[in-house]
């Protein structure tokens, strides 16, 4: 099962197994990862599952599309490596993915 590393804003790492086919957001909720709210439940309508993807992974995950980019405008302190974790689907290729949660979501 792919391992995903969730890093909190102050650097605490938590490595969890996330089944392929789930989103990085769902992986976080199922493993009680703090810092991801996911208010809208994954319908790309709220920007509260915002995460920063580690630089070396940015080009390895599927490219961001317009609707996600539009929603990220609403996120708390978005950066170039910002993504909505509900839109990243875990696959074997993402084994080892590292994401950092922002200081807060709203």
């Amino acid at each position: 099962m792919p391992k995903i590393t969730y890093i909190s804003h102050d650097g605490k790492k938590k490595i969890v197994d996330v089944p392929t086919g789930l989103s990085v957001m769902e992986g976080a909720l199922q493993n009680n990862i703090d810092g991801i709210d996911a208010d809208c439940g994954g319908s790309m309508a709220c920007a509260t599952c915002h995460i920063y993807v580690s630089e070396n992974w940015v080009n390895k995950i599927e490219k961001i599309h317009d609707a996600e980019q539009d929603m990220l405008d609403m996120a708390y302190e978005p950066k170039k490596n910002s993504r909505l974790s509900c839109q990243i689907i875990v696959s074997n290729d993402l084994d080892g993915l590292e994401v950092t949660t922002p200081i807060k979501q709203t």
């Binding site: 319908s43 709220c46 539009d70 405008d73 609403m74 170039k80 709203t106």
Partner: protein
């Protein structure tokens, strides 16, 4: 004090259908919602996005769904208290007394919380120092555009609200429009108008920039914005308008002594009652094993909660299950003409 059989908190699809389910079994209700119109997340978050999983409705938008539900509950003539939020509740004997932020009081044996993920509030600026200028020089919505004349206004955001207000206020003010990336989300003609105003020197567009700091102690005098590449620019500013959409906050519901688990309220799936007698939770805000956050689940939950409300509203009457196809009582309540 408004007396009724049930107060519904939240006018999203789940709350609206609960009005229907209460109505056909002969119960009266009043609906309170913080937003200024009915529809909840459907209308605020995705009015134009098609929904494909409403039973027997192959496709509809959030707006269609809301309008159809409003039509379906018309016969019951329930009162809507919009732009109003229930702040406090207390129990007297078996009756709940509710107080809203507008100072209105309601009393009912039942409260149905259909509050979604909470009430919508504008998303605020990330900077801590923004707080002290809020309401004076920093605004998250515009209630009176005439207060802005011959001023320097910095507008943050990349969507319709930011663009529309930039255009409108540029008639009498100097506007700087600041956005974190070069693309804006807006209708083509709006974007063309912005470009035109930029050429005329009425609107300065700054992308890709983010707010870095706010200058001034008692009065805000200016801001610093930071380019994606780290370059910092100072801008003289009398007002900041910030349009980063809405967030959902559980709000006062969190203080009512209800069990709360990760922003949701556990319920008994027979009645959708919470840990407080006479308080029910339905729709996205409730949780139970197997809960799906779907509109159709909210409809089912409302149907069961409504039946449970009957026993508390009319303790001396016997509830009898009836079908809408065959019941004369229901036809009368719906105003069906024979």
């Amino acid at each position: 004090m408004i007396k009724t059989d049930a107060i519904i908190i939240g006018a999203g699809p789940t709350g609206l259908f609960a009005v229907h389910q209460l109505g056909i079994i002969g119960l009266k209700c009043e609906v309170v919602d913080n937003l200024d119109r009915a529809g909840g997340q459907c209308i605020e978050l995705y009015p134009d996005k098609p929904i494909y999983d409403i039973p027997a409705v192959p496709e509809c938008t959030g707006e269609d769904l809301t309008n159809n539900l409003l039509k379906q509950i018309e016969p019951f003539k329930s009162n809507f208290h919009l732009g109003e939020r229930v702040e406090e509740i207390k129990q007297e004997n078996n009756i709940w007394i509710l107080k809203t932020n507008k100072g209105n009081f309601f009393s009912a044996p039942n409260i149905i919380i259909a509050g979604g993920v909470g009430s919508f509030e504008p998303r605020k600026l990330a900077l801590k120092e923004a707080e002290k200028f809020e309401g004076n020089q920093i605004f998250y919505s515009v209630s009176n555009k005439d207060q802005f004349q011959n001023k320097k206004i910095s507008i943050f955001g990349g969507g319709d609200s930011a663009l529309d207000w930039a255009l409108e206020l540029s008639k009498k003010n100097e506007i700087t429009l600041i956005h974190r990336r070069t693309e804006f989300r807006g209708a083509a003609h709006t974007l063309n108008e912005i470009k035109q105003k930029e050429k005329e020197g009425k609107i300065f567009v700054k992308t890709p920039y983010n707010l870095k700091s706010i200058e001034g102690n008692k009065t805000m005098t200016g801001i610093e914005i930071e380019h994606e590449d780290g370059k910092i620019e100072k801008i003289k500013t009398d007002y900041i308008l910030s349009f980063f959409g809405l967030i959902m906050k559980l709000g006062p519901i969190a203080d009512w002594g209800l069990n709360i688990d990760k922003k949701t309220i556990p319920v008994n799936t027979e009645t959708f009652e919470t840990n407080k007698k006479g308080i029910f939770a339905i729709g996205d805000i409730c949780t139970y094993p197997g809960k799906l956050k779907l509109i159709l689940s909210g409809f089912h939950e409302g149907a069961l909660a409504a039946r449970a409300c009957f026993k508390r509203a009319k303790p001396n009457e016997t509830y009898r299950f009836e079908f809408t196809t065959a019941s004369k009582n229901i036809h009368d309540r719906l105003g069906v003409k024979k």
